[in-house]
Symmetry: C2
Subunit: 284 residues, 2 copies
DNA sequence: CATGAACTATCGCCTTGATCGATGGTTATT
DNA sequence: AATAACCATCGATCAAGGCGATAGTTCATG
């Protein structure tokens, strides 16, 4: 079986174009490299180098084997990389729960930076709203969450406001009766169906003052609004990105409202280095 | 450095859920597996298994490392696979030159079968016509070629006709004057510009009897025909697939012509097992 | 609760393979 | 012709993988 040392010797020899140079690079003696390549050639039953000239050059078969060997070395270096990260306490998998309330610009920037920093770390993104997000973090199912700001959180959660503001406004389909009105008061609004977020934890605290339909995500609400089923409070960026011009913003007193996003994590299941790093990126 | 044996022991132990079972599977003693896992844990500075219960179970970190370890083993088995193929004389890289004359159905079927049979073999496809194809095979640059049948080939080439027939017909743009005529004789045809294949080897044997534009591939000819620059003989399937209904077939005596495709290879640089296998698939 | 079956950890010993330094042969440069 | 750099080979050394035996755990069962 081709061992790591042998493969490394082969790859270095191939890329350096010289056994001696490879030996110097790897800090081994020249005879070691020579023996390694020879043993590899025997094991694979192939001639890897053409030794007729001064400097050994790869045979065509050698070129192909070089690729395969480099794949192995790359895989082992990935293994060592993630091992050292795990040994330093980095979580094996990072779970982030976000609201689709959340404006994606900063988050995407943070994610791409994260991808550079922890290329091999598994990342799980959950989508949920309000109480569901709190529950996910509390239970330890998610390490970090980004949620629409609430007045208070359970005592075991820590929150910090993200420096970024979006807006939530009221929208209806362009075909909806309300779309024609220049300005709308509360009573008029109440005469039409509201599309509202429902959480899974807290299915529906029925303080309904009118007909209400609910869905567990803003994206579903948007689709229901597009269907003309009622008016809905929606994040502006979401409508801009997925609304495709089919929605109309309503002019109602008190709207649009500014939106503040909190980062949440748990004192009991504190995020590891990767989670903390992501948090600091998001909060800077 | 994590050796293959150790990794294999780890992966087997993880998938079997038991060190002893892994030992049986790998034909090693139980102590070997135990020692291997222990040494791996020391090397990586990680606890991979939770030994508190009867059967050892992977820790979260162990799950991640299992993935990485399997990547390495997969890479080494690929290395061994291609090594054994190369050792049996399979060419390190197969170069096939085809004419875009060639109907793709059978060729695509052959390619996908090829992909099953030689998953790790590098494949290069060159596109050329007539004399260029012959030159590619003669020089050894391509191992196999599929070309429009010619009367004779250089003595060092072997040819065999592919059992498949396509048709070449004359086409013009729908806006072209010829498109309006129900039937056309040779003289009328000669009064308009011909779009003809030019090879690179044999740039243009100027027996032109009229205004002629030429291009090195049928696809370019098709585009020129779509531009309305003249009439062109084109393979039917090519027009059906890339013509997008913009071309009109001409009714001329002697057209459409049946098209025969020859497989070509060289006696001097005979194709290896992979090339021969592809040939037999194509000729069956 | 006692027993037995199956499992893991550890110890001593052996074999394999990676490594080194020394030596000699080959190739290209001066 | 001399030199410098390169590769192959040999014998010795040492670490790591392997085995078998043994002892300690864990779990199911009567």
């Amino acid at each position: 079986m081709a061992s790591q040392e042998v493969l490394q010797a082969f790859v270095q020899a191939a890329t350096q174009g010289s056994f001696s140079a490879a030996a110097r690079k790897l800090g081994r003696s020249q005879s070691t490299i020579s023996a390694a390549v020879a043993s590899l050639e025997i094991d694979l039953d192939l001639i890897l180098f053409d030794r007729s000239s001064r400097k050994p050059t790869l045979t065509p078969a050698g070129h192909v084997m070089l690729q395969r060997a480099e794949e192995i070395l790359a895989a082992t270096s990935r293994l060592e990389m993630t091992a050292s990260q795990l040994a330093q306490g980095v979580e094996p998998k990072l779970t982030v729960a976000i609201s689709d309330t959340y404006q994606s610009d900063r988050f995407e920037a943070a994610l791409s930076a994260f991808e550079q920093r922890y290329p091999d770390l598994e990342l799980e993104c959950l989508i949920a709203e309000c109480d569901d997000l709190v529950a996910l973090v509390q239970s330890g199912r998610a390490h970090v969450a980004f949620a629409e700001q609430q007045d208070s959180y359970p005592p075991d959660l820590v929150s910090s406001t993200v420096q970024e503001r979006t807006e939530i406004a009221l929208f209806v389909s362009r075909e909806h009766p309300l779309a024609a009105l220049a300005s709308i008061d509360q009573d008029t609004l109440q005469q039409h169906r509201e599309l509202r977020l429902a959480t899974i934890v807290n299915p529906y605290e029925s303080r309904a003052k009118g007909r209400v339909w609910s869905a567990p995500s803003y994206l579903m609400l948007l689709e229901m609004a597009q269907g003309g089923f009622g008016w809905a409070p929606l994040p502006r960026w979401l409508v801009g990105r997925f609304g495709a011009g089919t929605l109309q913003e309503l002019n109602v007193r008190g709207w649009p409202k500014p939106l503040f996003v909190d980062a949440l994590w748990s004192r009991l299941h504190p995020p590891g280095p990767a989670g903390s790093w992501l948090l600091s990126k998001m909060l800077e």
